[in-house]
Amino acid sequence: MKTRAVRIRHALIVVWTIAMVIFVYLPSLSITLASLTSSRYFIFPINKWGLDWWRKTLDSIQIHQILETSLVIALVVTAISIVLAFFGALAFARYDWKGRSWFQKLILLPIFFPQSVLGLALLLWFNAIGLQLSWQTAVFAHLVWIVPVVTLVISIQVYSFDPAIEEAAYDLGASRLQVLREITIPVLMPGIFSGGLFAFLLSWGNFPLSLFTTGADTTVPEYLYAKMVAGYTPGVPVLGTISTVGAIVILIGGYLVMLALNRRRRAGAG
């Protein structure tokens, strides 16, 4: 039985959380509104609604190129970080080995590091070893902090994984490779999947690392930033809305896929 005091406290928490959610989404709402005006300047309330700026933005070849660059970087980052982080997570959470606690701290360092400084350090490093800056160097830069994040995400799944099941498979005659293919990877799949989702989205939205490491190539956040400081253009809200809505769609889509996977696993009919 909940007492009156508890009910009031819970109600207050719910109200506060709703307020926080609104607070979190207010800027996205503002951007979306701003993208729906036909006039050159943003004046609220909007008197001329329209999709003109959407059309102009979507037709722009430059924008296509920028979207493509962002997409390619995010996909490559996702692929590489999943492989590295999968093994990293096993070392982080699954195996007992001498260097484990040392390794756990090492993994956290890039996450606990100001990204703008990291971007500059990488710029300096690329310059020192004579690498030409391009989208490839940006991929490398993104990986430096995304691999640790994905390692943590997969690690959480690894923690709930009974190490004995690998041993059992091995004991039943499986080779190391068969254990990996038949047991470890399928069991960790939900973690790998959410890790991949994180990798893609974090790369997609990253600004501070891209700023210093893309060279002549431009990602969406970089382009938006350049336009923002250069003065108002309604193309910014449009592209901002696209990248926000894109993130939401991918995340919710991914979440639904996960739910479906889990349900199938639980039902066991497959």
Binding site: D162, A168, D171, L172, A174, E182, V187, R265, R266, G268
Partner: protein, 357 residues
């Protein structure tokens, strides 16, 4: 082809050290074809390490593991003709009951139809309904999961099955049932089972022979009857459960005194040269006396409390700083009041004297 004298597994000076500490310390042991051998020991006694070496999941630091006359030290777990049932069971959570059971056959490239036939055969033997073949392992009960783990281990017809306390997570009633069931399956399959547990009670129920392990060494090996009635040390006698252990000094031919309990006691035959040791009397051999002469030995104390243990009743009697434990069958219950003065006693032949080891 059986090894010499029906020995299937022979351990010779088997040792495993971790950072200079011997978890398993020079164990010599013969396990016979078709027996159910249980290794009992408290946690940290090295029994799990020993089992993991036998299964091939740990490499011995020194010594040999000999299976049917052949040294198998260097053969890894996936190529040993043995199989382990894990404490957590380690069922594959992403595979169905059938796929779990068939796993070892799939790995060995057996065709699906044969695999399925074998799985269903095992499921029938273990009384798992056929409909469970496609059931998720996360959706069946604890006892059923136990049987799936056993079926999975039996599927490729291993020579020896190892059990790492697979029943320890279950509730008491189910554990009691499954202990007997496991013994029945042992009888059915005629395979060699090596079982480890921390519960001597569990070992008593199912084993042909028991080895008691302490600090990496096997301190006593024998049939359940031998372990129960003639433990060779204070450690083994206390491990069995409630028991009366009195520190004693040998004063003469079959004569004992104790610093804890007044009087001189008559003792069973004592090993030559023993000076100090422990007198061990099981609770069921202690009796309430009406006359001091009703038993070889007697002690006066106060009834402290009584406990109903199902078919038996246990009594605690305080004698000075010591507490004696007595057990009576329910229909022979002692009618006494708490704090009442009582006389208790036992016969010399029902007691043993063990060294402090």
């Amino acid at each position: 082809m059986a090894g010499p004298d029906g020995v299937i597994l022979y351990l010779k000076g088997l040792t495993k050290t971790f950072a200079g500490h011997a978890a398993v310390d020079a164990i010599d042991l013969e396990i016979f074809e078709g027996e159910l051998f249980t290794i009992v020991g408290p946690s940290g006694s090295g029994k799990t390490t020993l089992l993991r070496m036998l299964a091939g999941m740990e490499m011995p630091t020194s010594g040999d593991i000999i299976l049917r006359g052949e040294k198998i030290n260097a053969i890894p777990a996936n190529r040993r003709p043995t199989c382990m049932v894990f404490q957590s069971l380690a069922l594959f959570p992403h595979k169905e009951v059938g796929a779990n059971i068939e796993f070892s056959l799939k790995i060995r490239g057996v065709d699906p139809a044969t695999r399925k036939r074998r799985a269903l055969e095992l499921m029938e033997m273990l009384r798992l309904p056929e409909s469970y073949y496609r059931r998720a392992v996360t959706q069946i009960s604890g006892g059923e999961r136990q049987r799936v783990a056993l079926a999975r281990a039996l599927a490729f017809d291993p020579e020896i099955l190892f059990f790492d306390e697979p029943l320890s997570a279950l509730d008491y009633k189910l554990r009691k049932t499954l202990e007997k069931e496991l013994k029945d399956i042992h009888r059915e399959t005629k395979k060699t089972f090596v079982y480890i547990t921390h519960s001597l009670e569990e070992a008593m129920v199912m084993s042909d022979r028991i080895g008691v392990m302490r600090s990496g060494k096997l301190v006593q090996i024998g049939s359940p009857q031998e372990i129960y009635s003639t433990p060779n040390s204070k450690f083994v006698s206390e491990f069995i459960g409630d028991v009366n252990v009195v520190p004693v000094t040998v004063t003469g031919d079959r004569k004992l005194t104790s610093a804890e309990v007044p009087g001189e006691f008559r003792a069973p035959p004592i090993a030559d040269g023993m000076k100090d040791g422990y007198l061990v009397v099981r609770p069921e051999f202690l009796r309430f006396l009406s006359e001091p002469g009703d038993a070889d030995n007697h002690v006066a104390g106060k009834l402290y409390n009584e406990y109903a243990l199902g078919s038996r009743i246990q009594y605690h009697v305080r004698v000075g700083e010591m507490t004696f434990v007595l057990e009576k069958l329910r229909h022979e219950a002692f009618q006494g009041k708490l704090d009442q003065d009582v006389l208790i006693g036992w016969d010399a032949a029902d007691s043993i004297v063990v060294p402090d080891r």
